[in-house]
Amino acid sequence: MNNLLEAQSVSKKFGDFTALNNVSISVEKGSIFGLLGPNGAGKTTLIRIINQITMPDKGQVLLDGEPLQRHHIQNIGYLPEERGLYKTMKVGEQALYLAQLKGLDKAEAKKRLHEWFERLEIGDWWNKKIQELSKGMAQKIQFVVTVLHQPKLLIFDEPFSGFDPINADIIKNEILRLREDGATVIFSTHRMESVEELCDHIALIHKSNKILDGNLNAIKRQYKSNTFEVGITTDNASELQRSLSEKFIVSPAEFKTLNNELKLNVKLSEKESANQLLNYLTTKGEVSHFLEVIPSASDIFIQAVKNN
């Protein structure tokens, strides 16, 4: 069994509203899985079902091949999007309490907390109350509390919100480090650049249905349009553009160059290869730029949602 988590045909209704309709996902061990979707698509409901906060109407969720049970909550660390801490409780006490709720014993929790606090250089916050900390500081505590019990599965819902770029980077590296230590991560966000950076695999949920699922690179290959950015220096630019337009679909392109080249996006049909285009271009002028246009996660997101 190579999948840590499998959701099988999960459906959930709230009254007349269908929050999830027959959604299945498989999260490979040791991967970072991006769970994407517009607001209100049903991501949070799915995450809550995995956390046993909500029960599915139909379908089941397997963790390590076993149907979810109460004791599995020790194996999951969950950072919800709607998060917070007890404002009047001291940082250390609060972290200890939350760790104990996850089944850690007090001494072990204390040891690990001190390690984490030292690494993140927040050791002197131990006796402060949460209300004395800034939002970003509290988020750091929250992150530590989420991962402290060393769960097999980590679920982060918008983990970077509330962080400045420096701290966001620290947290990103901590997530990558945790993955290296063997954790599997489910990652839900609207920030597509962090999806590009982190995710191996994505699933896109739209209006309660899963509309896209797969390895990020495979999806990109699937969504690429066989389009190439071309930069060429030629004596007769308009003549070249006209002749290209006869063969291919051509549109103006924007990218940075040093000289005053002709910049075009050239879309090839499925039969034509990049080499054919390149060979043709070399006969017309000096090619300085030739790049396949790879769709970004954001492009894929927008296109997939539009198509539905």
Binding site: N51, I73, Y78, E82, R83, G84, Y86, Q100, V145, T146
Partner: protein, 444 residues
């Protein structure tokens, strides 16, 4: 995995460490005692001041009853007109002028109904106190009645001799003796138990509600319930807060009694001077010829109560009644986002509680085993308060057990219902739910 003790511990510790809680705990008895002392002091002040009342009696036969008392001094005017008397009284610092007209002609057509009568008026610069007016009325009425009887040929000695004082000795069929004093003791115990429960529910139910709302507004709730079941969290909250409440009540009790003793020693205030309705009742009950045996009777009455039954029933009804209401408070807390939104849902909770206290206060005193008191001691939302008030008067065990079973059944049902609302509500933000939506949540 059972997290309940952990949750209870956290709830308890954060509650008792809270500054507002500590201040409340230690300041409330001080404030209470201070207020109480003030009232006691003021009422003493009021009592010691002698009021002077001027009397002008044109009939000449009634003025003899106005003899000076500790609290009132009478000045009797003679041979002045009403106008002059008014002027005199207005000049002096007199409380007021009591004017009694001359005897009016005997009214009535036949001899049988003819009687003496007078017009009585009271002139004063300020509205006179009700007790003084009714005291004067009684005096004049008594005197006229006496004179009317004399007119019919009944003399005063005959009337005096005809008076009989009856004190009913009460005994039940098993031979247990009871008395009016006993009833008063029972009333005090029952009333105290019922009222205590009422206060406890209001104070600590609100505290539970606030603490649920706090978890929602600080958005920690989702973190917590990804680790524990909502019902565990809810029960932990209720129990933790209750323990904090018991701690606070305990401190209040100890501190209160210590301060009471200290205050009465320092300021020499006699707290028995503060008249409460209960004390009036007790005083009435004590007005019997064997007053010297009073204390013995009270002690007997105390031990004549079904004490073991009382204590066990108190604990059982108190706990189940409190849990019933506090689970509702927790559900309300979960359903709303902030305290201002709670009002709409508070009414259905407060209503039966107040009803219980009123039913307890009026019907149990009147007739502890009457239909109204009995019925309300079975309805689960009023039964804890009403039953606690009834028990000192001796309620058959089967009634107590039945009422308790109904209460526990309802309590399990409300806990279940509240936990459903709680489970859905704690993750709902934004709009205030309607009753219809709450009903839907229960069905999820």
């Amino acid at each position: 995995m059972n997290h309940l003790p952990l949750i209870i511990k956290r709830e308890y510790i954060t509650k008792v460490r809270n500054k507002a809680f500590i201040i409340m705990t230690f300041m409330s008895p001080l404030i209470m005692i201070a207020l109480f002392s003030l009232v006691a002091y003021l009422s003493q002040l009021n009592n010691t001041k002698q009021k002077s009342i001027t009397v002008l009696d044109e009939s000449g036969q009634i003025e003899s009853i106005f003899t000076d008392k500790e609290t009132v001094k009478y000045t009797i005017l003679k041979g002045v007109t009403l106008e002059n008397a008014k002027a005199i009284v207005e000049e002096q610092e007199s409380y007021g002028l009591l004017y009694i007209s001359g005897f009016k002609n005997r009214v009535g057509t036949t001899d049988e109904v003819k009687k003496r009568n007078v017009d009585v008026k009271f002139y004063s610069s300020e509205t006179p106190s009700l007790s003084i007016i009714s005291g004067l009325e009684t005096k004049v009425e008594d005197r006229l009645k006496e004179m009317n009887l004399q007119d019919k040929g009944v003399n005063q000695i005959t009337i005096k001799n005809a008076e009989v004082d009856i004190n009913i000795n009460q005994e039940n069929f098993t031979g247990e003796k009871t008395s009016k004093e006993g009833s008063v003791v029972k009333l005090i115990f029952g009333g105290a138990a019922g009222y205590l429960l009422f206060m406890f529910i209001i104070i600590y139910g609100n505290m539970i509600m606030r603490s649920v709302i706090e978890e929602k507004t600080s958005r920690i709730i989702e973190v917590i319930i990804s680790s524990v079941k909502p019902i565990q969290l809810m029960l932990g909250k209720i129990i933790g807060t209750t323990l904090a409440g018991i701690t606070q009540f305990g401190i209040w009790l100890i501190l209160g009694s210590v301060l009471m003793v200290v205050a009465s020693l320092i300021f020499d205030i006699d707290f028995s001077q503060v008249n409460t309705p209960q004390q009036d009742l007790m005083a009435q009950a004590m007005q019997n010829p064997d007053a010297n045996a009073d204390i013995q009777i009270f002690i007997n009455a105390f031990f004549n109560m079904p004490l073991a039954n009382l204590i066990i029933a108190f604990i059982l009804f108190f706990v189940s009644g409190y849990l019933l209401y506090s689970s509702l408070y927790a559900a309300i807390g979960a359903a709303v986002d902030n305290e201002t939104d709670t009002q709409q849902f508070m009414l259905p909770i407060i209503m039966p509680l107040i009803l219980a206290v009123y039913v307890g206060g009026f019907t149990v005193i009147e007739d502890p085993h009457g239909t109204v008191a009995t019925v309300f001691s079975f309805i689960p939302f009023t039964s804890p308060v009403v039953m606690l008030m009834r028990i000192p008067f001796g309620v058959p065990i089967w009634q107590q057990v039945l009422s308790l079973l109904i209460l526990i059944g309802t309590f399990i049902f409300t806990i279940w219902m509240a936990s459903k609302i709680y489970r859905v509500g704690i993750l709902m933000y934004g709009k205030k739910p309607t009753y219809k939506e709450l009903l839907k949540w229960i069905k999820y």
